[in-house]
């Protein structure tokens, strides 16, 4: 049985990792584990906080009894939203035009990355950006395509947290994202909650399931 940290250990620089979860799954525990892992490894974390999702995560974690005390120290690039959580390095507005938004985001992201050799880049709210742009197929395509441009950027390991119930309602989005990513993980409920490996460069990990403690049990 592989443990969560053993799985994280296998993430390589340049990878794009997707984590699909449902509104009812213990994704906050998983987020917590990633932060704890990075701390133990001395790996710098940068959170992309789109549309206040770090605020949603932190607040929910507080109610669900999951430790949040180091979240105020975490480095953040904020895209849109009003609620500031963590140490905000840079901020971009979410513009009505997706291409324009992306251009500004890339500029800021590259500037931040100059100061680091390697970061764990946790993206929260990318799915909400998709929702935000879902009224225009052209804007939606711009955001969907953006993911693959980041693939292979060796200065980062990117982990995208995605609400599966939401992304599946956008036609073609799940398939598009899975195609671009190098690793795809999914929180599933059997007897207990498990993280299942759906796609990975390490063939031996495929279909592996790792048990996740839920909510306040962790």
């Amino acid at each position: 049985m592989t443990s969560l940290f053993e799985l994280f250990e296998k993430f390589k620089p340049g990878e794009i990792v997707l984590i699909f979860y449902s509104p009812f799954s213990p994704h906050y525990s998983l987020f917590r584990s990633l932060l704890t892992y990075s701390k133990e490894k001395g790996l710098d974390v940068i959170i992309d906080d789109a549309l206040d999702m770090l605020h949603v995560y932190k607040t929910n974690m507080e109610y669900f009894g999951i430790d949040t005390k180091d979240i105020e120290d975490v480095k953040v690039i904020k895209a849109g939203g009003l609620r500031e959580v963590g140490k905000i390095l840079e901020r971009v507005n979410v513009e009505a035009d997706a291409a324009f938004h992306l251009e500004k985001y890339n500029e800021v992201f590259n500037k931040v990355l100059e100061k680091f050799d390697l970061v764990l880049n946790i993206a929260l709210g990318f799915d909400k950006l998709l929702a935000f742009y879902s009224g225009s197929q052209q804007d939606l395509n711009v955001i969907l395509l953006a993911l693959r441009h980041f693939l292979g950027n060796k200065k980062r390991i990117a982990v995208y947290f995605l609400n599966e119930d939401l992304v599946t309602k956008i036609p073609g989005a799940v398939e598009f994202l899975e195609d671009s990513a190098s690793t795809v993980l999914r929180l599933e409920k059997n007897e207990k909650w498990v993280l299942k490996v759906l796609k990975s460069p390490n063939i031996e990990l495929l279909e592996k399931e790792i048990e996740i403690a839920s909510g306040s049990e962790s």
């Binding site: 509104p23 949603v56 607040t59 939401l166």
Partner: protein, 231 residues
Amino acid sequence: MNNIPSLATYLNSLRPGENILLEYNKPFLSHIAFYIISKHFLNKEYPIIIDDLLDTLYVYKSQLEFAGIDTKFLESEQVFVIKVGGRKEVGRVVGKIKIHPDFYVHKENYNRVFMRVLKSGKYFINIVLGFDKRIALTQDAYNKYSLLLNKSRYLGNKKRTSIYFVNTGILKGSPLALPYLEEISTNVVMIDKKDSSVVIKILKSPLPELNDRVFEFDIKNVEEFVRRYLK
């Protein structure tokens, strides 16, 4: 059999700052749920802010009256109605906001009224009625998602606990809305009907013992429960 007391216990377990999403797809009981929840908190002397979007409170009040239930509580000094759109003033209206086509203007208009009520320093229960219709009727995608994605704004604000009533059928035309609301809320509760039973399912709760709990009781018992809250 009698799960009703545990339901009151559930309402008592809600903490300041939480967001509760109350889902239903058959609107046969939503007005009763509204009545029970309002009376429960008024009896505990918590003031209530009702966000009345698009005359939904008028519909609830009418349904309660058809069922022979007294709606005088809506005029109580502990009830603050913020009217968003619509024309029919019901209850003690403390603020009126016209729906502005630009979301950002609307947001600031609402915030001004909401903060004015919150400023009294008390802890409020904020019941939101008609958000489902507001989402469904917002044509422009940009405004629709701005409106939706702003819903986490007051999450964690301990001056209030909010309870959103949503008809999942009305949200079907905006399929991204429900998964988002379910995600940001700390509690998700579904009211359903099975034969002559009312089924209340706790889909999400910070209390592990409540997760996936199902309360089921005969519709006849609802009347009994309502009677208990009549005073």
